[in-house]
């Protein structure tokens, strides 16, 4: 594992453990399986949806008027809105993020894909995604945006999704796994996926509850 790489089988095992922990914490991660056409092979990936109420200075959907009342029946529309955090009041300034963690056979690491839509269903444009994520990013205004989050074809659904470029993942993970080994002797990190998510998730607005680490070290 000190190569910073992960096999698909390890990915699925880690993902299952992560969902067990998430269920205990009510964090909303689920493991989905997709079978493409009628072939025998299934692909597993992790999904989580959150709503973020964006602040005044953050990008606002220019198509929707600002001071409209509560949208009606929003909870009937989509169960994911139950996970909404923030002020608790849903407004037109709510952005729904849907995160997918997918195994990449070419990089042999997990890759983060996500989509972000305004309440109207319109996709949040890439430039606004960068603006929204800039507080979490070292690449802010550095001209490096194109190296971090860009649009890509979703490897399973073929639809456009945003994605965090995975080219540094294995190096970063190798460093962490090695450092961990030095500190804790022969005790390997139990869940590669969880460690990876704590490092890369926040760069695209996906924070990991500290409780995961408490559970993980206990089990």
């Amino acid at each position: 594992m000190a190569t910073g790489l992960l096999t698909y089988e390890e990915f699925v095992r880690n993902a299952r453990d992560l969902v067990v922990m998430s269920d205990r914490l009510g964090d909303g991660w689920e493991l989905r399986h997709v079978r493409q056409t009628d072939g025998p092979e299934e692909t597993a990936f992790l999904v989580k949806r959150i709503c973020v109420a964006i602040a005044e200075e953050s990008p606002v959907d220019p198509e929707t008027p600002r001071d409209v009342g509560e949208p009606e029946n929003i909870e009937d529309e989509d169960p994911a809105t139950l996970h909404c955090r923030g002020t608790g009041k849903l407004s037109e300034k709510t952005v729904q993020f849907e995160y997918h963690v997918i195994y990449s056979p070419s990089y042999q690491v997990p890759v983060l894909f996500f989509t972000a839509t305004f309440h109207s269903g319109r996709l949040v444009p890439l430039k606004e995604i960068w603006k929204f994520l800039s507080p979490f990013h070292v690449t802010r205004d550095s001209g490096m945006e194109w190296e971090s989050v860009t649009q890509q074809e979703h490897p399973i659904f073929g639809r456009p999704f945003y994605h965090l470029h995975p080219c540094h993942t294995s190096n970063v993970m190798a460093t962490i796994l090695t450092a961990n080994k030095h500190e804790r002797g022969d005790r390997d990190i139990k869940n590669y996926l969880l460690s990876w998510l704590t490092i890369f998730g926040p760069t695209i607005g996906l924070n990991v509850l500290i409780d995961y680490l408490k559970i993980d070290s206990k089990t």
Binding site: T3, L5, T7, Y8, Q36, T37, D38, G39, P40, E41, P105, S106, Y107, Q108, L123, P125, L126, W146, E147, T150, Q151, Q152, E153, P155, G158, R159, P160, H165, C167
Partner: protein, 264 residues
């Protein structure tokens, strides 16, 4: 013709295309009658990508279409929006084959289908896309040189049928397979395969992987019938062609083999 000649021929392969502005988007009129602008004819290299001509299409048709600032050029073949990040040759083999030439493509500015197409609002978007594709290739290479056979095969054992041996020198060949049958046409299968089968023992003969091995892998997930044929650069090849040769000579500039599965 030698291999060099084959490579050159493929590089020079072009598709005659007729671009027409979507009739519903024509706003230009003379004395109250809408006037569609002239179609535009171009020879487009198979190994290139559509954004190369987007600027030209924009110049030609934006006035007639009354293009707004937020509008973005996109094109479709019949009703299918064309993904600009696939090589032109792949798009043609999937959606244009069997039709009269020149291939008719419709130009749009309105109603960008953002659930199907990646946005392509700037040169940076295009550059970033291809850089990431190349990085993926480099990453393949690094993985393959950095790590030993066992580690590699532990991950990719699904791809191969036979047993493995340690520290066998290899290079791996990336390929993508597309099939048009599914309404939206997408990369269905992206894998890599070494040029040789792993030897069971050192004395074994080297067995080359061929196009047939790629097809076998693919058809395990996506069953093929006799109605299907497999094209690279629009050419139906012998299934006995070694993939090493295919990779050296028939790869696209992004160094992937782009393979199309179509109906005969």
């Amino acid at each position: 013709m030698g291999d060099e000649g084959v490579r050159r021929e493929l590089w020079d392969g072009k598709i005659p295309v007729c671009f027409k502005l979507d009739e519903d988007e024509v706003t230009m009129s003379i004395r109250g009658d809408r006037v569609a602008p002239q179609p535009c004819y171009m020879m487009i290299p198979r190994v290139s990508y559509l954004p190369l001509v987007y600027e030209k299409l924009d110049k030609l048709y934006s006035r007639a279409a009354g293009r707004q600032v937020e509008d973005e050029v996109w094109v479709s073949a019949e009703a299918t929006p064309l993904k600009w990040h696939y090589p032109v040759g792949v798009l043609y083999d999937l959606y244009g084959r069997g039709q009269n030439l020149p291939w008719e493509i419709t130009v749009h500015f309105r109603n960008f289908p953002e659930d199907i197409l990646l946005h392509c609002e700037s040169k940076e978007a295009v550059e970033a896309h291809f850089k990431s594709k190349l990085k993926e290739r480099v990453c393949y290479q690094q993985l393959l040189f950095k790590y030993n056979y066992d580690e590699f095969w532990a991950v990719n054992k699904k791809m191969m049928l036979s047993t493995r041996s340690e520290h066998e020198p290899f290079r791996s060949i990336p390929f993508c397979i597309y099939q048009a049958c599914c309404t939206d046409g997408k990369i269905l299968f992206q894998r890599l395969l070494p040029p040789h089968r792993p030897k069971a023992s050192p004395d074994d003969q080297i067995v080359e992987n061929t196009l047939e091995d790629i097809i076998k892998l693919y058809s395990a997930s996506f069953p093929l019938t006799e109605e299907h044929c497999v094209l690279i650069h629009g050419i139906e090849l012998s299934v006995r062609t070694p993939i090493q040769w295919l990779s050296e000579n028939l790869s696209y500039p992004d160094s992937f083999l782009h393979i199309c599965v179509v109906h005969k």
